[in-house]
């Protein structure tokens, strides 16, 4: 509480009259214009509250004269983004794969677009970067069920595998054991033959005979498979459903018929093209 205003002997200034344990405060008044800047901030706050959404009520809030909302601003910036992207997307739609691959700028855009589409729609089964897992093919290796050329990849993505689409890739491996086509013993013998193709077991003449009778139609006489039929190569060391004797036995006994949606029914043409280019660059593209 101000008690005694006195003149400070050194500075010649008045004190405020405040004193704390002998320490006295000099009166150094604020310039008047400084106070006006404070009033200006109050006016700014009032104007802001009038123009922008500001005051909450029980059922909502004041909307402000400018009608600004974050959501509308987001929608607008997304629309701007899409307009920018449309230039490239239109070119991708109109160009062949060869044309796209000869234009580095367009190619990089397509691969980036494909990557983000892959992470939304494909990663759930095929893993990030196309790493795959048991039952879901690795897209980064050179082993292809239905072909690794860009057009083949494009067709697979567009129409899918074993789904209700008329053009989907559609073949069926018989359930050799479960449907009684082979006995358990015969399944065991052909399992050993299949494993022998990659040097993992010893073949028996019985197994070779069964293979020639039942399997070569799709997997070919040398066991290297047929991409027209989606029949995998059995001679490499890569196994989609596991390469143990038990896993191969189960594959022959119950069959494996993996499926994939026809993405052409859900995604636009340009996105499918970008996905095909992205998958093709993952490493296994022919």
């Amino acid at each position: 509480m101000p008690t005694k205003i006195e003149k400070d002997s050194i500075s010649g200034r008045d004190t405020t009259g405040h004193e704390w344990d002998g320490v006295k405060e000099l009166n150094t008044p604020l310039p008047t214009w400084w106070v006006y800047t404070f009033y200006a901030t109050i006016l700014f706050a009032i104007a802001y509250c009038v123009l922008y959404p500001a005051i909450p009520s029980l059922s909502g809030h004041t909307t402000g004269l400018l009608g600004y909302t974050n959501r509308a601003a987001l929608t607008q910036s997304l629309a701007e983004q899409n307009r920018e992207r449309a230039k490239f997307v239109d070119r991708i739609r109109a160009s062949s794969f060869d044309q796209i691959r000869k234009d580095p700028e367009l190619f990089n855009f397509a691969v980036s677009g494909g990557r983000s589409a892959f992470q939304t729609t494909c990663m759930q089964c095929h893993g990030a970067g196309g790493a795959g897992s048991t039952g879901f093919p690795n897209l980064a290796d050179d082993d292809w069920l239905w072909g690794g050329k860009i057009d083949q990849i494009h067709q697979t993505i567009q129409y899918g595998i074993r789904n209700s689409n008329d053009k989907s890739r559609n073949t069926l491996m018989p359930r050799f054991g479960a449907d009684g086509l082979l006995t358990s013993q015969q399944v065991g013998q052909v399992t050993d033959y299949v494993l022998s193709l990659s040097g993992k077991a010893k073949a028996t003449p019985e197994g070779a005979k069964i293979f020639q009778e039942q399997c070569v139609a799709c997997h070919q006489a040398d066991g290297k498979g047929n991409q027209e039929m989606g029949a995998p190569n059995l001679t490499d060391g890569l196994w989609l459903y596991g390469g143990s004797r038990d896993a191969v036995y189960r594959t022959i006994f119950y069959a494996r018929n993996g499926s994939m949606p026809a993405w052409g029914e859900r995604l636009d043409d340009a996105t499918i093209k970008m996905l095909a280019l992205y998958v093709h660059t993952l490493g296994g593209g022919k």
Partner: protein, 469 residues
């Protein structure tokens, strides 16, 4: 209990600085001309960089994310060069302050320079101190209103030119100048021209010394850089006092040299009396030195009653002794050494800077791929930044992994050549395949190297991961 007669707010006392001539005033004019010349003219310097690059010598292209400085192009990741320049500026300021006090405030600060320019215009239009004070007190008249209007129009014109020059550092000057007048310039350009116009007009026309006294933090902490050996504006109290009026022919015995003409107060741009000693409002411009010398010449007394000197020397002189100026002292050595270290680091970094940068990011999903032949493959995203102004073709090599084969997606050939456009980053997907038998177990260090046709090379260390055996 309202504090008696102690007011909470102080009304501003208007300062009417008087014109002055002399050595320091000339130096201040020279500094003003040089600094404003640099500020207004630099954006108009042209520099030929070929058809696809801007032809402005100094341009900070925020949209394009490039800083153009003659033949040097600064990319966003090299912004430390600009940071380094700012650090050099700060340390240089510390050094200058410890040697010469507030030279920055008095001669080089934009606030001082533009205020000085605005005062010059004011003096041309409204006359010198006495004339301005007389007109301000006089009632409104047509002549008064005409002069005031003319002054504010002139001020606004300078302020607009200042705002214009500011944006020219960020956009192409000639085309933007045309667009500003034809109404085609972007909203951002108009906004910043407007903003800088308003701040220049307000700060240099109206706020003036209030900025230095109340707004600027620099006078507050520069006290830490000054000491009794810093050269500052001093009043030789021991020689000037007791002050008093002096008539020609009167004796100088028993009195000081100060004739109390108040010229030093009248010329001061912050309106203080230097004879009260050091004070926070003093910006160290030395105009009172010129003013006092003018008077000393008239009354035929030795010059330098108000002079540039150190506090230590003034104390010694008061006792009739001589003391040397000591510019070399621990703090100046420290500032100079810091300045030198930063300058050397910057120079080394600048000369070691290459016009190409390589980076390699390895795919971790899948960590590695086993091919049907059993070979092991790793994939990398390689980025090559071409900071030059011409398209370059880089040969990519891999070192540290015998037997490895390198392939680039979408680029044919065993030893692919990677083209990268001028002033851009090329992104490539690189596949490295090692025969089954030669694949390393676990992580193995490798190095990518990109070499352009002129022999400029850049490397990036990475790893190759194989199945753990």
């Amino acid at each position: 209990m309202d504090g008696g007669n102690a007011p909470l707010y102080a009304t501003r006392i208007k300062v009417y600085p008087r014109a002055v001539t002399g050595r320091w005033r000339r130096l201040k004019w020279a500094a003003l001309g040089l600094l404003l010349g640099i500020y207004y003219l630099v954006p108009w310097l042209r520099w030929d960089r070929g058809p696809e690059a801007p032809s402005q010598a100094i341009l900070l292209d925020l949209d394009g994310r490039r800083g153009w400085f003659f033949d040097t192009v600064i990319w966003p990741q090299e912004v430390y060069f600009i940071t380094g320049l700012m650090i050099l500026g700060a340390i240089g300021l510390f050094l200058a302050s410890s040697l010469f006090g507030r030279v920055w405030c008095g001669f080089a600060c934009p606030q001082t320079v533009w205020t000085d320019l605005f005062m010059l215009v004011e003096r041309w239009i409204e006359g010198d101190r006495n004339e301005r004070m007389r007109v301000d007190k006089a009632p409104a008249s047509a002549a008064k209103i005409a002069r005031k209007t003319a002054k504010h129009i002139a001020w606004l014109a300078i302020a607009a030119a200042t705002g214009g020059a500011w944006v020219f550092y960020f956009v192409d000057a000639p085309s933007t100048l045309r667009k500003i007048f034809t109404g085609e310039a972007s909203t951002e350009v108009y906004f910043f021209v407007g903003l800088l116009t308003v701040t220049t007009y307000t700060l240099a026309g109206w706020a003036r010394e209030q900025v230095c006294t109340y707004m600027c933090p620099w006078p507050r902490f520069q006290a830490a850089m000054l000491d009794e050996q810093s050269v500052i504006v001093t009043y030789q109290k021991w020689r000037g006092e007791p002050r008093g009026k002096h008539k020609a022919g009167d004796t100088w015995e028993g009195r000081g040299d100060c004739v109390d003409c108040r010229l030093c107060v009248n010329v001061c741009p912050t309106g203080i009396d230097i004879r009260d000693g050091q004070q926070i409002e003093c910006i160290g411009c030395g105009l009172c030195v010129d003013a006092c010398n003018e008077t000393m010449r008239k009354v035929d007394r030795p010059l330098g009653l108000i002079r540039w000197d150190t506090l230590a020397r003034q104390e010694a002189r008061e006792k009739g002794k001589a003391a040397p100026w000591r510019p070399v002292r621990p703090r100046t050595i420290l500032y100079a050494a810091l300045f030198a270290v930063v300058a050397i680091v910057m120079a080394v970094a600048f000369f070691l800077r290459t016009t190409a940068d390589l980076s390699a990011q390895r795919d971790r999903s899948p960590n590695f791929v086993r091919l049907s032949s059993g070979d092991i493959r790793n994939s990398y995203t390689i980025k090559i930044a071409n900071k030059g102004q011409h398209e370059r073709r880089f040969a990519l090599e891999l070192q540290g992994l015998p037997g490895a084969m390198l392939a680039v997606a979408n680029v044919p050939g065993e030893n692919p050549i990677l083209p990268v456009h001028a002033d851009s980053v090329g992104t490539f997907r690189v596949l490295v395949t090692v025969p089954a038998g030669e694949a390393p177990s676990g992580s193995h260090s490798i190095e990518f190297r990109a070499l352009d046709e002129t022999g400029v090379s850049t490397t990036h260390a990475s790893v190759f991961v194989g199945p753990t055996r």
